[in-house]
Assembly symmetry: C2
Homo-oligomer: 890 residues x 2
């Protein structure tokens, strides 16, 4: 097996074997660009090294053989006392891991070759500087001697000389320093190796070893790069950008990576090595400076950049060095970019004829759109360091906001009229909804992704950071405290804070926010995506406002309208509570009859906005106690009254309420009296809802809209539940139609969100005209995880420890939940061929989960309005990735 | 299709078509016993009638044809003015539904045939009495005229005559009454039909109609008899037991149905019709009286009884009538019996050579054993009516108990020393355990089958009625109130109450209890059962005492020892709480090290008792907050202290505790931080437990027992959870063995109680040496039911409304939960051929579920000690019912 590839022997598509850097160096060499010669030791060798703990016995023979070719190319010899070749030894894995692994420059220097270099360059300062750098780097990386010792010695030297800049240290002093550095090595019981071959072998081994250093492992964890890939090792002839004013080094993107604008974008540092750019010691100049300083080199570089972009058919990230007027390309790779730039570049490249529409659609990452679609905190403002990060919670509802902290819903309403406020609560409850709506953002100390705060915030599109357990909210004194760098920080009402609901970060101060923008390029891209995808995309929307937003983002219907969210309105909640506290079905019906007009208006609004598109309305789902005051709060009030006003009528009233709340309380509300179970025990609630739906549809039809109603019954586990409720509600629907004298297109269906429903989907499909997988609850029940409890208490740890590969509430668990879904789809379709099947859990907006839905041939996914564009893109990408016969409209 | 069968045309095995009564009348006719001739109209006709709402057009032609045969047999003619035949028309379904449907006697009487009867019998009183009964019965059943009107008229007559007994009313008066009765019919716009053929047709239709009368429907609901079976209709020549002292009627069992003793057992009423026996107007005589009064008839009856028992090979329930010295058999059927009798009869019949051992095993119902195996309330005492039934709750832990009500755990301990007490609580918590152990029984107002009270009670074998929401416990005043027949009854501390944990009934007063008895016959029967069954039977037992009981009942190992139950002991709970409140892992380990000796002793005890048999120990399962005081109680205490002693150190202490409890509290504890999740986050707890297990096993081995340890990790949902925990604990186990210098036979396995575990069982089997299905939790998660909430709030309603066919926590749901189990068994065995598979949920003691386990070829079921005999029997029955090749050891 070949273990060492000369650059001219490799190609860009050999990344697995040669790593990204090696493959691209090979590609550039192959197409004739000026690349300093060199070779790549394969990732196979690294994997072998990891297994056996040492380099293969005859590896160095192969290395020496390739080194001879390099020597011939550059006309120098490695270790030659007259005309020595120096090399760099660099890591380079399949996926870029910038700065995570080790690199050694100037290898091949020793006391004798240094003298030869001085003779050749006539520049002793340059040579001693290179030598001292090499010893330090080599000692640190290869021999495990702390870098700090060398840095301290250099600092002492500068102090002694009374200079501050490295460049001010004269050659003599550097020469002495080199000796001192060697002495440091000696003091560690080691000797700095004078033999260049030994240097090389040790450096190669160190590069391979660095694959498993701590920071590389952590980086791979975070970026989800497999640990068993290994790195390649590139050995390349050194070129020097620090040999005078006709030398220099730079980096460039072939287009603007922030905006996507088609213009070369980069930085250049004259008389410098790459290291200096990274170290940030000198401020680089814009690329234009190169045009002025070395116009011919600049023209050559422009040509190369253009050629590479056309060759790779993508925006490229380039590194180059100029040694005495000669341009050398040291690296090229596909450039990282912002979401905005990704969209623009993809669309522009189609217009330029570089790529096809399918390729453009595949190139933009769904996460790119996510960046663009929400208000976000200004990155540049954050980079100033003016706004300290003070805590991190769960990213419960995306988007960012800044405002004055308030600790009470009423205060939020008051202050929120005049200025932006962020509502900070231990956790929220129905009484807080008014205040939540008046706030720009919500921050809670407790509660998970399905906590009241999170659900309401997502429902209303308000940014929210939930379960931020680092903060301690003191409601009474209207403040929260948080430990920051060992000190207790207190944030009081009126202090500015900023939250990022997409990351869970909380900052002190009013960080400027940037509004989302839907560029014409994005419209174009999504339009192309729509032509490729097979899955339809609907939105989860409860209000006409949300529905309008969803429609603007391209939703093709509403996949989930949560009727109970409508119960929380200020005028409505008291009626809802009255209904719940009613002692008889008659009283309950009376209260419901007063709710009916509200619900009818709600539905009419949805039908108007969605004219002609299907609207799936879920009947009441949560347990009734969610609409009542919290047990703990009531208990507190009652106890207080017992001690202060034992005979007050208020106490009697509160006691009555407490008793009802106690009756309704549940040990595990998630698995309690909710969904279809409520509809069976209290049919009058859903009778009212269906009456409101059908009356609204009748009115919508009269007004010339074309309502298509899908009534969804949640939490069904046994076909009989659906049967009983559906039969009753079909009756109600028919009565309303008869009364209104209209025919409405309506369907009855169910959510599949309980394992038993999935397991008996064949039976359930007998009674359901559509299925919608409620993957949030299905994930909870299949895993036996209460999301509220799991996310704060152990799920993060599970993901961190790789016990679970992903958070299953974010990306659908294929092996467990997915398997059940697959069974249900198969059985459901077998029982009813025309069964419409969708998904309306949060996974409906997650690209990996959307791909799974595509594979299962679902009819649609439904997600929050803001994620509709992401779903459109992800659905198209899934279709493109799984296409068998390629028929692409270029 | 033949629709009417003469008795001589039918057989006993035609119950589907002829109903039980008809088939047995046919059988008796067939074997030559004296049965009044008659015929049966099939259940087919009834089903046809239910579909079409009227009798088949030509049915009456067929009826008349058969009637002619009957006329020939008895030498009388139906409707004949000289020698009329009277008939009875009776329902008779496949399954006995005593008294639920309608019967008409003396049909064929009209003004003319009555005169003929008078001539023939010379007994006008008898005839008018029969006629007035017939009109009343016919009007009520066939013509829907309220019976009450007739009864009132009869009462008026008796008042006028100044008599109290029916028999005292003379013939004349009865004659007048007949006319008055006809007048009543007339007043309802109808006429009593004089045409016997019309009477017959109307009566037949009425019998079929009565299949769907309300009480019959309710009865079928309760007894789980399908509604579509229909009833047959038997038309039979009347014989009269009320024709003088040489006449009479009686019922008999061929053996004592209470004890099983082989002796004819019954009652006889001279000069009476069956109706009189049922009405209870006269007190019947023991059968012996017949021997004295009519020795020849008695001898003939004895012979018939013996013949029928040998013919049916079972204990029979017989009805007979003697008309003027002639014995007629009116009914025979297999007799109902108590559990004790069922066992004795089955075993005796094997010894008598009547049936085989397999048949004996199949004949005893598992519910029969259940009756016998628990202390039960004395039925006779209850029948006196002295002990009113005051409430009904959930049958949370079987067995019965009487004692003085106490409302506080401490009081239970105090009073429990001197006299039996029943602990009554709103619900229980860990602080109550001492008091629970000191009580004979437990009664709670709230909480389901898995509430703390229920779980602890079952664990310790204490009878318990939980979730008895009819009672209102007032802890402060040490009393409970309950509405009984519209009045509020108050039970105070010290009042006697009795509970039946097998039915959920609560009685006022000290009902005597009867202790369970394992008769030699039961030992024999179970020994036979063991020879047929393939499933092994283990017990769920946490203490040596329970283990010993289980062993005595025939358990072949422990399938579930719940280690956390051991945490509740009085000496232990404080240490457990200290462990939970510990701030560091070090403090936690310190507390755990003090728990270790307790746990080691616990395990050693189990190994000693079970010597040589496998012991499955489940590592800690419940969430830690279960071991701390209840949040609500603490909150109450803190609030009180805040108002009354705001500066007390006590308040600070309670606040600290409250804070920790708040941190640990969960929205849905059932789906929260428990089971393997705890073991991952706090590995030190299970490390202690495994250390204790292995040290105990080592000691047991030294003492000459032969421990076989199966360590079970609960709540696994992903193979990685098991892998991580198992690897750590294997290390601990090996360290202990090395330290102790022994080799222990141990296995690591997991509970399959989360849907995802079942769905990915193939992967999980890679890491598990055994599976035990925890069907309680699996049912909860597959249905999305929290048992605590569901049972009280909607499950009962679901079962009542037939939305669910069964309570899935009692009988395993095959379609949903069962399907998952089947998938898991298949995948688990495919991945690991020698995988041992059992079930340890409560279904392990339910016969229908055991049959399912047999079908799935599980290795064992595990159930509570008291249910071990039931499981042995049910497992044998399952094996017998599913045997392909019959190889029976008779």
């Amino acid at each position: 097996m070949k273990r060492v590839y000369l650059f001219e022997e490799g190609r860009a598509d050999m990344r697995d074997l040669l790593g990204g850097k090696g493959a691209n160096l090979a590609e550039m060499t192959h197409i004739g660009l000026p690349v300093p010669p060199g070779f790549t030791i394969t990732t196979d060798v690294c994997r072998d090294y990891m297994r056996r703990g040492r380099l293969p016995d005859d590896l160095m023979d192969e290395v020496r053989e390739k080194l001879q070719v390099v020597e011939q190319r550059v006309g120098k010899r490695f270790g030659d006392p007259e005309n020595p070749l120096l090399v760099s030894v660099r890591s380079g894995a399949k996926f870029s891991m910038p700065g995570m692994m080790d690199t050694i420059l100037n290898l091949g220097l020793n006391d004798r070759t240094a003298q030869a270099m001085i003779r050749l360059t006539q520049n002793p300062r340059f040579v001693y500087d290179a030598y001292r750098r090499f010893i330090m780097m080599f000692s640190d990386v290869v021999m495990d001697i702390p870098k700090k010792l060398f840095e301290e010695r250099f600092a002492e030297l500068k102090a002694r000389l009374g200079v501050t800049q490295d460049t001010e240290v004269p050659a003599d002093a550097l020469k002495t320093l080199v000796e001192e550095f060697k002495q440091i090595v000696h003091e560690h019981g080691k000797e700095f190796p004078q033999d260049p071959s030994l240097q090389l072998e040790m450096a190669i081994e160190a590069v391979f070893r660095s694959w498993n250093n701590e920071r590389a492992v952590i980086y791979r964890e975070r970026e989800k790069i497999p640990h068993d890939l290994g790195t390649a090792c590139n050995v390349q002839a050194m070129v020097f950008g620090n040999m005078g004013d006709d030398s220099g080094t730079g980096v460039a993107f072939t287009r603007n990576p922030a905006t996507g604008e088609k213009v070369l974008y980069g930085e250049f540092l004259p008389n410098a090595q790459g290291e200096d750019v990274v170290a940030g010691i000198r401020t680089p100049l814009p690329l234009d400076a190169l045009r002025d300083m070395m116009p011919e080199v600049y023209r050559q570089f422009l040509e190369i950049a253009d050629r590479l972009e056309r060759h790779y058919r993508d925006m490229m990230d380039l590194e180059f060095t100029i040694e005495r007027g000669t341009l050398w390309m040291l690296q090229c790779r596909v450039g990282k970019r912002t979401g905005r730039a990704a969209v623009k570049i993809a669309v522009d490249m189609v217009h330029e004829g570089l790529i096809g529409r399918d390729e453009a659609v595949l190139r933009v990452q769904p996460s790119h759109l996510d960046q663009v679609l929400h208000p976000h905190l200004d990155e540049r403002a954050l980079a100033t360091g003016e706004y300290p990060l003070i805590a991190q919670g769960l990213s419960a509802s995306p988007g960012a906001a800044s405002g004055r902290a308030v600790f009470d819903a009423k205060r939020a309403i008051e202050r929120g009229k005049a200025e932006p406020v962020i509502l900070v609560r231990p956790e929220t409850n129905p009484d807080d909804v008014g205040g939540m709506l008046a706030s720009k953002g919500i921050l809670t100390e407790r509660g998970g992704m399905t906590s009241h705060a999170a659900v309401v915030a997502r429902g209303f599109g308000i940014p929210c950071v939930a379960g931020c357990e680092a903060i301690h909210v003191d409601e009474e004194n209207a403040l929260f405290t948080v430990e920051v760098n060992g000190e207790t920080l207190t944030v009081r009402e009126g202090d500015y804070i900023s939250i990022d609901g997409s990351t869970g970060n909380v900052y002190l101060g009013a960080v400027p926010t940037q509004e989302p923008e839907i560029s014409p390029e994005m419209m174009t891209l999504l339009h192309w995506a729509d032509q490729f995808r097979r899955l339809r995309v609907r939105a989860n929307a409860d209000t006409p406002k949300d529905a309008a937003k969803a429609l603007a983002f391209g939703a093709e219907g509403i996949g989930l309208a949560r009727t109970e969210h409508m119960f929380f309105g200020a005028e409505r909640l008291p009626i809802v509570q009255e209904m719940i506290l009613a002692k008889t079905a008659k009283e309950r019906r009376e209260a419901l009859s007063r709710l009916l007009p509200f619900q009818r208006e709600d539905f009419l609004g949805l039908f108007e906005v969605m004219r002609g598109l299907p609207v799936t309305i879920r009947l009441i789902d949560p347990p009734l106690h969610e609409f009542l005051p919290r047990y703990e709060d009531l208990l507190r009030e009652v106890l207080l009254l017992e001690l202060t006003a034992p005979d007050s009528p208020q106490l009697a009233e509160k006691r009555r309420l407490l008793q009802r709340v106690e009756e309704l309380r549940e040990a595990n509300p998630m698995l309690g009296l909710r969904g279809v179970r409520l509809s069976i025990l209290y049919p009058e609630i859903v009778e009212m809802q269906v009456t409101a739906i059908m009356e609204a549809a009748a009115e919508a039809q009269r007004r010339g809209y074309d309502p298509h109603v899908e009534i969804m019954i949640p939490l069904v586990g046994h076909v009989n539940e659906l049967k009983v409720v559906r039969e009753n509600l079909e009756r109600v629907a028919k009565e309303v139609m008869a009364h209104e004298g209209v025919q409405i297109d309506y369907k009855f269906g169910t959510m599949i969100e309980i394992p038993r429903a999935a397991l008996t989907a064949g039976e359930i499909a007998q009674e359901a005209q559509f299925f919608s997988f409620g993957t949030n609850d299905l994930t909870q029940t299949v895993f036996g995880f209460s999301r509220d409890d799991a996310e704060g208490k152990f799920l993060a740890y599970y993901v961190e420890q790789k016990i679970l590969p992903e958070n299953p509430f974010v990306t659908l668990d294929r092996a467990g939940v997915g398997r059940l879904i697959e069974m249900a789809v198969r059985a459901g379709r077998a029982a009813r061929r025309e069964l419409k099947i969708g998904i309306c859990g949060e996974h409906g907006g997650d690209p990996a989960s959307i791909e799974f839905c595509h594979e299962l041939e679902l009819d649609y996914v439904s997600c929050s309005p803001y994620r509709v564009p992401i779903a459109r893109l992800a659905a198209a990408q899934a279709a493109l990735r799984h296409r068998v016969a390629v028929t692409v409209d270029k």
